[in-house]
Symmetry: C2
Subunit: 347 residues, 2 copies
DNA sequence: AAACGTTCCGAAAAGCTTTTCCTAGACTAG
DNA sequence: CTAGTCTAGGAAAAGCTTTTCGGAACGTTT
């Protein structure tokens, strides 16, 4: 690659970045003085400082953070290891974490293991080789996962999916509380004949949300219509078929709480097609606040937001504290937030 | 933080990672020998090599990639700068890139600028300080964006949203081709009275897709029903309202191509409610292959997949090549892929 | 026995920054 | 004028790895 007179190589980008030495040479001082001048240390004449700053400016000097890290033992990087990058749940968690770090001087390595243990080990290896200061492990479901172990050289926080090992730090969304919130909202809206259509029973999230709802119904002294939680799949078609069965069995329901917005969309469609009006005759709630689905429903869908950005943010904070030396092991639960839209308006 | 006998600090994670020196000391050789032994260099006796490997194993030694980078001038990292992390379009692109790199020994820094220029500069700064080998800039819409400029010390690839500067490398999805694909598919399915309902006209993607469709109709000598492309919003409600207007005006249409899956969902709902059967009387196509929306539609929605993972993968490949010294400037277009489901089955 | 080759290993430098310590010069005070 | 006090700036080491080069030990050949 030929080098031109101004130091630009032909690949279309400039030559290698300037170092302290280059700045020192240009300013006619030593590297030590440059370092002190640029970092605001004392023992530098104001005049010299200006001269150095101008030289640095001219060369587009940026300190090499890697070299700094070599010295300080801190790299200012963390690893974000997700098992499912496409998942629409892991993403907001990552966003929250990225955001919390991005404000400071920490950068985030992104790795997607695709739910593959081998790949996870590979990435873990790569991250540790890069001397990350800490790790956040983001799950794709709320099902607890194996711990990476206690032998790692850096602190680890598990987000969304908690670790099975209680010595680890985990941050999760409060699904049980969400179920309670849903029932309380229905009752406040004047409903008393409430059914629950859940997602896939294999998922802890499905069971937790339903359990919270059942607890709250019990507290209010209300029955669960249909007598039991209806588990199925996280799909619209499950919502449609299950609610048809439900109104056959209990024609007098006045509220349906769903384990997800997708299920709720199916429920809304099936109710409309069977001639029931929402919310006048039946109120419907979803879960997830999947905006494009919930706001475009007819009527717009009341739902529960898991505050996943907060989960991510909290994970980042815990990790940061642990890096500083004060770890807080255990499962940290983030409250959900109920969003009332038209589908649960007072009938 | 108190250190225990086995070298574990009380923060819950092990002490600082082992270095070459530690391994050398344990194996009773010099650091140079350890380096050669572990990297498969010659001039090491087999016996010594084994001894070193065992020592390294015992100490959980991982080479410090930062120190390696300091020497080689290559860090094995790239920056992924997105303007919208939540966007469901930028995400698959990132995934493809992460995947392409992840296979090798390159790690990805993730930064989200939130569409904010200041934040973008901040992140750019941070990434360059970390001496990334290259940058991928992922847009949130297909609208072209300002170039970061030609003065950066590393190569840059723009993905999804191309750079306005043709000296840059860009990778985009072929939206015009997608419009053509849609029409060709409709014609092959025996349709000839085709309308087009587009998204928001502010978006180049909306205009490109429509333009491709119009071109193809022209080639087939077919009319565009409704006489013009109907621009609106990327929402279900726009799909519902626009298709109602359309069938008022042209009751004899037999196909509707939509600018997105959301619009198509609205179209499907409105058609069903107005008594038209899909696909028997009218065929409907979407765009994006937003799986959870398309597969759960009634009937399942034919659509076009933008192959965004491929966009990301291609961006990674271009970047890698540029790092190696062979840049290929210009806009690289990735073909879309048509997915035929029931909504366009032969009538 | 002397000269020469191999083979294996270690010392040292390079890469970039920060920090500590030291020196040279300027100044003040006696 | 001498001794002492500051101050600005420089030299060097540390942090970790890789690579080059030189040296030691051993064996072979004349």
């Amino acid at each position: 690659m030929a080098e031109t007179a101004n130091g630009v190589v032909s690949g279309g980008f400039s030559a290698k970045p300037a170092t302290l030495r280059d700045v020192a040479a240009l300013a006619g001082v030593s590297v030590a003085t440059v370092s002190k001048a640029l970092n605001g240390r004392e023992h530098v004449r104001a005049e010299t400082r200006v001269k150095v700053q101008q030289a640095a400016e001219k060369l587009n000097f940026l300190p090499n953070v890697l070299a700094q890290g070599l010295l300080s033992g801190r790299t200012g990087t963390v690893g974000l290891l997700t098992s499912d990058l496409v998942g629409r749940f892991s993403l907001p968690v990552m966003m929250g974490a990225e955001d919390a770090f991005g404000a400071g001087s920490t950068s985030v390595f992104l790795c997607d293991a695709r739910g593959d243990g081998i790949r996870e080990q590979h990435h873990l290896h790569a991250l540790l080789s890069r001397r990350v200061d800490g790790l956040i492990i983001v799950g794709d479901t709320t099902n607890p996962r194996e711990s990476l172990g206690q032998h790692l050289p850096v602190p680890v926080v598990y987000a969304y999916a908690p670790s099975l090992d209680e010595r680890d730090m985990s941050v999760v969304s409060d699904n049980v509380g969400a179920g309670r919130q849903a029932v309380e909202h229905m009752v406040r809206s004047g409903r008393s004949r409430i059914a629950y259509i859940a997602g896939d029973k294999e998922f802890l999230a499905a069971r937790d949300r339903a359990e919270g709802a059942v607890q709250a119904l019990h507290q209010f002294g209300l029955p669960l219509m249909g007598d039991e939680v209806m588990y199925g799949a996280w799909t619209e078609s499950w919502g449609r078929s299950s609610v048809r069965a439900l109104i056959d069995k209990c024609p007098d329901i006045d509220a349906v709480i769903c384990g997800s917005d997708q299920i709720a969309r199916g429920v809304l469609d099936a109710l409309r097609e069977s001639g029931r009006t929402v919310p006048d005759e039946v109120a419907v709630m979803g879960h997830d606040n999947w905006e494009l689905l919930a706001t475009q429903a007819r009527p717009p869908l009341s739902t529960i937001d898991m505050n996943l950005e907060l989960v991510g943010r909290k994970a980042a904070q815990l990790l940061f504290a642990a890096i500083e030396g004060t770890a807080e092991p255990g499962i940290h639960s983030i409250s959900t937030r109920l969003l009332a839209r038209d589908s649960t308006a007072r009938g």
